[in-house]
Amino acid sequence: MTSDRQFGQPGRWAVLAALVLLAAVMLVPFAIVTLNAFKSPAEYSSGGPLSLPHGLYLDGIVAFWQRVDFGLKLWNSLLISGVVAVAAVLLSVLNAYALGIGRVRGRLWLLVLFLVANTLPQEALVYPLYYLAKQAGLYDSRLAVILIFTVIQGAFGTYLLSSVLGRFPRGILEAAELDGASRWRILWGIVVPISRPTLMVLLIFFFIWTWNEFFLPMVFLISNDNQTVPVALGVLQGEKMMDATMSSASALLGIVPAVAFFLIFQRTLTRGITVGAIK
């Protein structure tokens, strides 16, 4: 190992120490939020943000949970993200089947269109969508948000999945055609089962992306009963009624589901990132 000559034995530990220090800096906010979510306001003002909590003070978390009806926010987020993930994967599969395997005419233009749709800023759609939703009686409904994100995520899924299905082994498809299978059956009996790993990656990414969305849900979901977790937290941020530890509790409640998804889906997520470098 020649490069040990450059760094030497102490140098090698210095590199590790520097990286560990940086990692610690990245994690400090998580630690501080967690630490202080379990303190009473009095404890916070006497001990400061770095002292360990004396006991498990849950009042801040409970009070915040009840005040925003956090269980309902969780349910709204789960419902919206779950339905969007499934519906967007379905749309992506149908589109990619026609574009990647069917190779319909003009597919290049359609792919560009889908890609552009996914990169468009939501600000360039928001007002007409808001106006149309009001006309259709869908404003302030979870359905409106579900429809919009199904299309936005589906546009990305179509783009990615079309190139994956473009490389689908032709032999399998031709064999099925010779056996007299219809296109519909080839899709559900062959293409979908074989592409399942990719579809699962898309499903999970769509779920998490939709969970994390803020702008459109914030515009569309104005009543407390419909809001998602990021919207509820983002809108309440800095409210005067919140004391130091309750603010910390609210941040923790936003962190926990996100980190939980990360831990649950870690392997799929890493695979997804390595497969398509998708974001």
């Binding site: 590199v15 890609l115 600000e123 007409p128 296109r183 702008f215 983002g234 130091a244 936003g254 990132i273």
Partner: protein
């Protein structure tokens, strides 16, 4: 399940596949194409959101180009591109190479992936929640940062500091993404390249510069593109942390258009801002893809 088409062992013409695109095309038209065109049309009018819009031609655009807040908002966008795309890419390259090529080999793959996970963790947060975390940490009276260091700094409320503070928060948020992508890219690289370079006595920096960077150029393009677009679109952190303020110290186009849509009810003006932003993002995307194409052609 539709019955198998008995007579036709050969697939019918390609036209049949259009049916599969139908549901998407209908939704796509209603949710993307029509609203986008409506937005462009509205940008040529004066409209408060109720009643009939008044056609005013290019007035919104001429006003836009004379509007200091608009130009300021794009300058802040450039600052955010530095914070969300440039800095994370540069630092991410060094970190990914150090983890992959140094830490993993001398301290084990587990140490490397634990460190990678630590760098990545902020990325899993909804960006609005990241804003809530830092809004609390940096609160001028009870925030943890001031308490720990015994300061009285109004990080987000001081016009001279607010943008720098937001930039720092975005670096924290964004850094893990390039690290993960670059480390994944490095696994593709043929290890014999590194071995050969080591035998030749090439230093770590030389290997980094002459092997690592050229080998993962596709990943660098993807990261720069996605992060630049994310920076141009940034809304959540601005809404949560500063609402574009103080004054317009952290105003960005997305928030500026939102402000005109829903608070000042200058819907026409808001639409013009949004249209310009959309145009810039589409142009940036195409430029990146062109450069990437050229790059790949040159290689092959």
């Amino acid at each position: 399940m539709a019955p198998p088409d008995a007579g036709a062992a050969r697939p019918r013409g390609r036209g049949g596949y259009w049916l599969y695109l139908l549901p998407s095309l209908v939704l796509f038209l209603a949710i993307i194409v029509v609203p986008f065109l409506m937005n462009v049309a509205t940008s040529f009018t004066r409209w408060s959101g109720v009643g009939t819009p008044t056609w005013i031609g290019l007035d919104n655009y001429t006003k836009l180009f004379e509007d200091e807040r608009f130009w300021a908002s794009f300058q802040h966008n450039v600052a955010l591109i530095v914070a969300m795309a440039v800095v994370p890419t540069v630092v991410g390259l060094v970190l990914a190479a150090a983890l992959f090529d140094y830490i993993a080999r001398r301290f084990g793959a587990r140490t490397a992936s634990a460190l990678r996970a630590a760098f990545y963790l902020p990325q899993v947060l909804p960006v609005a929640v990241a804003g809530v975390v830092w809004g609390w940490m940096l609160h001028p009276s009870y925030g943890a940062v001031n308490q720990i260091f015994g300061l009285k700094v109004n990080w987000l409320g001081d016009p001279d500091l607010a943008l720098a503070t937001v930039m720092a928060i975005m670096v924290w948020f964004q850094l893990g993404y390039p690290v993960v992508i670059f480390m994944a890219g490095l696994q593709r690289v043929d290890p014999s390249l590194y071995e050969a370079a080591e035998i030749d006595g090439a230093s770590w920096w030389r290997r980094f510069w002459h092997i690592t960077i050229p080998q993962i150029r596709p990943e660098i393009f993807v990261v720069l593109l996605t992060c630049t677009i994310a920076a141009l679109k940034v809304f959540g952190p601005i809404f949560v942390l500063t609402r574009g303020g103080p004054g317009s110290a952290t105003m960005v186009p997305s928030y500026f258009s939102y402000l005109n849509f829903f608070q000042k009810v200058n819907v026409g003006y808001g639409s013009a801002i949004a249209t310009v932003l959309a145009l810039i993002i589409v142009v940036v995307t195409f430029l990146f893809l062109r450069v990437q194409d050229r790059d790949q052609e040159r290689d092959s």
